[in-house]
């Protein structure tokens, strides 16, 4: 295990992410005090919700299994060192297409995966909220796209998203709060290729600021975004919502792994058992929110089984851990005569969502986008070995073209399937908790979508004169599903408010609640839902419905 040291957020203070070695005051709650909300996970869902609930006057303790880093003095410009941001505890993968867990889908750090996300901040296509009834596949969401449009606008403002004045696809949206970033050479090659194919493209809306904002300086284009931003230009949960949460009176408990949710005989959750500083503790709470993302959320619900709930909590539907989704992340790479130096700038500075919004001439359901690429040397070597099987002199020779490489990588919708699951294995992790077994196989629709995307991206690269083109056919990234929201307790785990059908004071607030996953990166939608959930909780509290 990576040496994690001792918890830092304690004794009335938490790390100040804006000052090397600095501290900010933080309220602390006793474990005996019944707090309004115990939130498990401080990422896009949990961290955002913690801030909004605290700002509404609720008492909040948010737990994270990971460490509380200060980016300015603890994030190295280094692919290897920054593995410390990823969830690398024990997990088992299986199926026809076992998932690759780690940097692309699993954070273990206060702030969650947003600490290392690529900052791509996209809205769902409105029709995706009614995939089943309008598009003919997957499942409908119990959320209305117009309401989501409202919350997308709110979260884009909260993160000062840098993006274009006019977004080329979908219904009108306000212009992005900050100007779009300069598009690097890799992005301009995407643009040229898209134009040659007759598709629109745009600078990607990104959660890294293009001008100063508060204590965040403008992005300096160092290109290590997926390994943690060491300048705080990135508008992650760690630097945006958690300082807000603490200022509003929330407590963040770092290096605190929640292993079980406690239930009483009346069928209500009473608090959480968590492991911190080599001992188990119990925090009392009126409400428990699970926000551990699509693996850890179902794992915790299943590990909290009792005699009354032998199949795990909130699981009368049998759907906890079911309908796990990832997104296809295949790519096409080639070589240019000119120097591209794709390591400069955020990796995905340009995007085309053409095939998210165009439905004609598709032999598959769902959509996908593609973006420019900028893998750093270790990842680039793993693509050469993984996609082409290169090693020996061939590998080293190919690596010499690093500065001339160009690539396009998709984020594609994979359909929810009952057979793709998170279950419990008999093995234990370092806390003595049963580990997750992750089972994944691509469906026929997924394969058709991937093949379509690969041929499209290849055409785009050919159009700009790339040579030695090859495909990376096996990659996937973001996760979703496993605690889906829906219209009734038979076919879903939570309702539109992210509240469990079975247990009135248990909530899920992360990508687990997605019934479908769409063809865009999920973080903005997770955060928009968190903002909505916070508003709904406040309304219900005012009406005495909590």
């Amino acid at each position: 295990m990576f040496a994690e040291g001792l918890p830092r957020a304690r004794a009335g203070r938490a790390p100040d992410v804006f000052t090397p070695g600095g501290w900010i005051p933080m309220k602390e709650y006793s474990t005996d005090e019944e707090v309004d909300f115990a939130i498990i996970g401080t990422g896009a869902g949990g961290g955002t919700l913690a801030a909004r609930l605290a700002e509404s006057g609720f008492s909040v303790v948010a737990f994270d299994a990971g460490a509380y880093w200060r980016p300015l003095d603890e994030f190295a410009s280094d692919e290897t060192e920054q593995n410390k941001l990823y969830w690398l505890d024990r997990r088992i993968c299986e199926g026809e297409n076992p998932l690759q867990m780690g940097g692309k889908n699993s954070g273990k750090s206060v702030g969650g995966s947003m600490v290392h996300f690529a900052m791509v901040s996209l809205r769902f296509r409105p029709e995706w909220f009614k995939s089943r009834s309008v598009m003919g596949y997957g499942a409908d969401w119990p959320l209305d796209w117009r309401e989501m449009w409202h919350y997308y606008t709110k979260i884009e403002r909260a993160l000062s998203i840098s993006g274009p004045v006019k977004y080329p696809w979908g219904p009108r949206r306000p212009r992005y709060p900050y100007r779009a970033h300069e598009v690097n050479a890799a992005g301009m090659l995407l643009a040229q290729g898209a134009e040659a194919l007759g598709y629109r493209w745009t600078p990607t809306p990104l959660a890294t600021v293009s001008a100063p904002r508060g204590k965040s300086p403008p992005c300096v284009y160092r290109g290590f975004c997926r390994f943690g931003c060491s300048t705080n230009a990135k508008q992650s949960t760690l630097i945006v919502f958690l300082p807000r949460a603490i200022a509003a009176g929330a407590e963040i408990r770092d290096l605190a792994m929640v292993g079980r949710i406690e239930m009483n005989n009346a069928g209500r959750a009473t608090g959480v058992h968590y492991h911190r500083e080599n001992a188990w503790h119990f925090q009392r709470a009126r409400h428990v929110v699970v926000a551990g993302y699509a693996i850890e959320t179902p794992r915790l619900l299943l590990n909290s089984a009792t005699n009354r709930y032998p199949a795990g909590l909130a699981n009368s539907s049998g759907l906890v851990g079911k309908y796990l989704m990832t997104q296809s992340n295949q790519a096409v790479f080639g070589k240019m005569a000119q120097e591209v130096r794709w390591y400069k700038g955020p990796p995905s500075l340009a995007i085309t969502e053409h095939w998210n919004y165009e439905d004609k001439n598709k032999d598959f359901f769902g959509g996908y986008c593609w973006m420019g690429q900028g893998p750093l040397p270790i990842e680039w070597a793993s693509i050469q070995t993984g996609a082409r099987g290169l090693w020996g002199e061939k590998l080293r020779t190919e690596m010499m073209s690093y500065n001339h490489q160009v690539g396009l990588k998709m984020v594609g919708e994979m359909l929810p399937e009952l057979r793709n699951t998170v279950t419990l294995a008999d093995e234990l992790d370092q806390y003595g908790i049963r580990v997750a077994r992750i089972t994944y196989s691509w469906g026929e629709n997924d394969k058709r979508l991937i093949n379509h995307a690969l041929s499209q991206m290849r055409m785009s690269l050919e159009a700009v004169g790339a040579v030695d083109i090859f495909e990376q056919t096996d990659d996937t990234n973001h996760l979703a599903g496993t605690a889906r929201m829906g219209f009734d307790r038979e076919s879903s785990v939570v309702n539109a408010d992210c509240r469990a059908w079975d247990i009135p004071n248990l909530w899920v607030c992360d990508g687990s609640v997605f019934p479908t996953t769409g063809g865009v990166n999920p973080s903005l939608t997770i955060q928009a839902i968190a903002l909505r959930t916070a508003d709904r909780i406040k309304e219900m509290a005012q009406r005495g419905e909590l």
Binding site: I92, Q338, E339, I378, G386, M400
Partner: protein, 214 residues
């Protein structure tokens, strides 16, 4: 292979400059100071691993060797008992130990010598067999050779090499970039603190530019 596509370029020349912060200096200093000896693997496993690394990422003779086996050894020491395992393979540390023993068993069965004593061609043929799923010795146990080659050998060995400043200099990567980052984003645009490529006819110019990288 051209030994120097970026003549005179050395990422480490930027160590004291604006592209490196203290956190990065600490990490790279530690990496450069790793002792070239096993702490996780047995001596036998270590010798096989060294031989394997030399076939997967061969290094030029005219410069100090990047200690790939040592980096893999330390990675397994630190977190070889965790991470994600793909059924039926064990966690990485145990899988590596099993695979190194199996590679030796395959070499002994086919050539009556240890893997480290095989001539390059025979070693590469054995590894190609591993890559193509043709190895079947009982010593592999729960480690499918083809899966191990794809998911561990071809991931861990290149990751060890391309984590080293020598490799960054070799491929012309800018290396660590905080707090300064980059300014010139367009094609064929180079910041003065980036590697200059020695194109035919301009190697002297590239050499001069690279000597000014700070």
């Amino acid at each position: 292979m051209s030994a120097e596509l970026f003549p005179g370029y050395d990422v480490l020349a930027k160590r004291e400059g604006l592209s490196w912060n203290d956190a990065t200096r600490r990490v790279i200093d530690q990496r450069l100071a790793v002792s070239n000896e096993p702490k996780f693997f047995s001596t036998e496993e270590w010798l096989t691993l060294e031989a394997l690394c030399r076939r997967i990422v061969p290094q030029p003779q005219n410069r100090p060797e990047v200690p790939l086996a040592a980096y893999i050894d330390r990675a397994m020491l630190e977190h070889g008992d965790a991470g994600t395992r793909i059924e039926p393979m064990p966690y990485d540390g145990e899988a590596w130990k099993c695979a190194l023993a199996a590679i030796d068993a395959e070499a002994l069965a086919a050539h009556q010598v240890a893997f480290r004593d095989l001539p390059a061609q025979a070693a590469d043929a054995l590894l190609a067999g591993m890559q193509n799923g043709e190895l079947t010795d009982a010593a592999w146990g729960n480690v499918p050779p083809k899966l191990f080659f794809a998911k561990r050998v071809l991931v861990d060995v290149p990751a060890a090499y391309y984590a080293h400043p020598t490799a960054w200099s070799e491929v012309g990567f800018g290396g660590p970039a905080s707090p300064r980052g980059y300014v010139r984003m367009g094609a064929d645009r180079r910041d003065p603190w980036e590697a200059a490529e020695g194109k035919p006819g301009n190697r002297a110019l590239a050499l001069r530019d690279n000597r000014h990288v700070r």
